[in-house]
Amino acid sequence: MRRREFLTLSAASVGGVLVYSLDRKVSRLSGQTGQSIRIPLRFFSQSEALIIAAAASRIFPSDEAGPGAREAGVVVYIDRQLAGPWGRDLHRYTQEPFEENAPAEFGYQGKATPQQIYRRGLKDLAGLDRLAPAEQDQKLKQIETTLFFSLLRQNTIEGMFSDPIHGGNADMVGWQLIGFPGPRMSNYDDVDKHFGEAFRPKPVSLREASGRKVRPSEDLE
């Protein structure tokens, strides 16, 4: 049993209560309170989590266009995915022989699991969270073509836009950014209207829409 690790962040830097408004203008209420949030980690150590959080927030930065990976809690999402069946390759065919250099149209043929790919990739990013943004970008550019970086980029997008039950997209901040309303049960009255104009209903999460507690796959196995 590994030592329990927590990610300690200020409420200003991850999650927090977000106030919804139209067209990407999102503000955080608890940002000023200075309270800390302690999030139990399932796969990363705290120092690994800080590196991944820093990298994800350069891939999907918080900027004048709106919040990013930091506010959405992308690192929490990635931590849970890596600890779950996806991170351990429980649904991937893993029988030998492996052909590591297969042409791209056969898909990933390597032996390493997502957990192993992240652990190796983290070695190249040691100390990333303590660098200035421009230096962080330079370091990420050096690994841009690696499998680890493409997983990290894909997982960052997933953590921005998956349902909040998976640990990212805190307060549906990602959905608010793009005007996606989540699992909205009926668009019957609107689907053939609003041509040429943005129709942006208030997002709902799966738990709100279905009225039941839904267990994500990473909590099942």
């Binding site: 266009a65 029988q95 149209e105 970008d137 996606f180 699992p183 668009n187 041509f195």
Partner: protein, 587 residues
């Protein structure tokens, strides 16, 4: 191995075809019917909490688990095949309802001449026009023979659409190129969202004949001839890769299961992995005795049966015949043998990706709400001066634009992949991007086929199925033609930037194309070149039938479900009316 009491009818696979056959034979006769399904049980109300893009559309929760069983792939017989370690290019379903649970619900009939492709093409263009290495065949059944069964399938599912050819009379606004129909669609077309409406107007302005895509996502409340009612669609945008949370999309679990559950003579066993068909064969004649399967706890059973149906999807139907050594495996070197031949995968790609100035509200829609045109399908247009045979449909579906799959699609003028510049462009284009799809025929070739892999095994130690598959010049030329036509319409839709498809190169198993993979146990007019007779009955083994698109000699540009349901109905009629009185070859 434990031997169970014998049953009258045993069906391997609990998807559309297996459950339709179970419903038909189980309610028209008092025969005992057992369905063996390797996946989990399902109920209609299972789907209340499944509108989760990550678990369902990305992690593929409803699909076959590749860790236990997948297929291997190579491009030609000289290569070593590699396993598809994750499904991506096509998505085999698992569990009761199979792929019929997570489909989009697009429901077109095939063009009339698809069923006589070889003879029609030779008659019109001469044999010299056929590609070298082709193995195109006639089906042994005609459109006219299937028409009443297409109509029954449309009534069963309550298909929404508009007829374009009622008993030979062309009707503007429907698909005027379709084969004749004996009846209008059971329900009116679905609502048409913004992006699809733009496509319709552009296609019309160019003189084409766009029509509402036929949809199994009912446009209004519908009660079918079995008395099964479904609500109308609410256009939530969660069809493809999801079960319908309100049951508006026709699925085996909301269309067939309610009838089956009322019949005491039909039972479904889940978690039952069939490993072999048990048979006595001497020479070219024989009889199937039942199947050998393993349950979820690892216990093995012999289930004897009088009549056996394979209804376990294209790849598994073929694999079970090969593993059970039923019939002669196809050999491309000699062109002898039949099991595994004529593997095809429908050509399907975004002919044009359009980037607009205005938002499109693309989260709203259903799996089949959209507009299709058939002006360049099949032989609707003359090929005399063209460097290829056949064609495909162009369509603009509004089937729910979900963010993980669609965020970050940028015009070719943008090169950034991450960081602030990328984020800003991706936010702008997220709801301003649409695709025109080209879905085209895939001809059959002598060296596209299936056999058993010599290296890789499944969880239980049986060899995986090996696909030998690649595109040929005919598909590449057709793709170039479809791309040009898609671009022409895209320009008329008012986009400010348009990206064409980059072209078909070698077969790519990582790009989702469709789950319309076909062949391997094909039907035909002669046992030398096909596995099944025109009633889907094994040529040599009269008490074995094989249902589904594994019977298709080549791939049309239509989605396969209407045709597999029509064929299953026709076989059910032949069995109920003829075979049960005299269990002999039906053809």
């Amino acid at each position: 191995m434990k031997t169970l009491p014998s049953v009258d009818v045993l069906i391997v696979g609990g998807g559309w075809t297996g459950l339709l056959m179970a419903k038909e034979l189980g309610s028209r006769t008092s025969l005992s019917v057992v369905v063996l399904e390797r996946g989990q049980p399902r109920r209609t109300d299972d789907y209340g909490g499944d509108m989760d893009e990550l678990d369902y559309a990305v992690r593929l929760r409803m699909m076959q688990n590749a860790a236990q069983e997948t297929v291997t792939l190579r491009h030609n017989p000289g290569e070593r095949a590699l396993p598809l370690r994750q499904f991506a290019g096509f998505l085999p379903g698992a569990g009761v309802g199979g792929a019929g649970e997570h489909w989009n619900g697009v429901f077109p009939r095939m063009l009339s001449d698809c069923f006589t492709l070889l003879s029609s093409t030779i008659e019109k263009y001469g044999a010299a026009k056929l590609p070298e290495d082709h193995s195109i065949q006639d089906w042994g059944v005609t459109y006219d023979e299937l028409e009443p069964y297409y109509t029954r399938a449309e009534l069963l599912l309550g298909i929404s659409g508009k007829a374009g050819n009622l008993r030979g009379k062309q009707i503007e606004g429907g698909n005027i190129f379709e084969g004749w129909r004996s009846a209008e669609y059971p329900t009116p077309p679905t609502k048409i969202p913004c992006f699809s409406a733009l496509f319709r107007e552009a296609a019309k302005s160019l003189g084409y004949h766009p029509y509402p895509t036929p949809a199994a996502n009912a446009s209004q409340t519908y009660t079918n001839p079995d008395g099964i009612a479904r609500p109308g669609c609410t256009y939530c945008g969660f069809c493809e890769r999801f079960g319908c949370m309100i049951g508006a999309k026709a699925q085996p679990t909301n269309t067939l299961l309610p009838v089956i559950q009322k019949r005491k003579n039909i039972s479904i066993r889940t978690g039952a992995q069939v490993r072999r068909i048990v048979h006595d064969t001497t020479g070219s004649k024989g009889k199937v005795r039942g199947v050998h399967y393993i349950d979820a706890s690892g216990q093995e059973f012999l289930q004897p049966a009088e009549l056996v149906f394979l209804a376990s999807w294209t790849l598994n139907n073929t694999r079970l015949l090969l593993l059970s050594k039923i019939g002669e495996a196809y050999d491309p070197a000699t062109n002898h043998g039949t099991v595994g031949r004529n593997l095809t995968h429908q050509v399907n790609f975004p002919a044009a990706t359009l980037f607009f100035d205005q938002p499109l509200n693309r989260f709203m829609g259903s799996g089949a709400s959209g507009i299709t045109m058939s002006d360049f399908n099949g032989d609707v247009f003359d090929h005399s001066g063209l460097p290829f045979l056949r064609g495909g449909t162009l369509f603009a579906l509004s089937n729910g634009n979900r963010p993980i799959a669609n965020f970050g699609v940028l015009p070719p003028s943008e090169s950034s992949k991450w960081g602030s510049a990328w984020k800003n462009k991706a936010l702008h284009y997220y709801d301003r991007t649409g695709r025109i799809t080209f879905e085209a025929e895939h001809l059959a070739y002598k060296s596209n086929y299936m056999d058993l892999d010599p290296t890789y095994k499944d969880y239980w130690g049986d060899p995986l199925l090996r696909l030998t598959l690649d595109w040929r010049e005919n598909e590449r030329r057709t793709a170039e033609f479809g791309t040009a036509k898609g671009m022409e319409i895209a320009r008329a839709m008012g986009a400010n930037e348009i990206a064409p498809f980059s072209g078909l190169r070698s077969y790519d198993a990582t790009r989702y194309q469709s789950t319309h993979i076909q062949g391997g146990t094909i039907m035909g007019t002669t046992p030398e070149r096909s596995v099944l007779n025109p009633y889907l009955q094994h040529w040599q083994i009269s008490n074995l039938f094989v249902l589904g698109a594994s019977s298709f000699p080549q791939n049309s540009a239509s989605n396969p479900t209407p045709t597999i349901l029509a064929q299953t109905y026709r076989t059910a009629d032949a069995i109920a009316e003829r075979y049960l009185k005299n269990p002999a070859p039906l053809a």
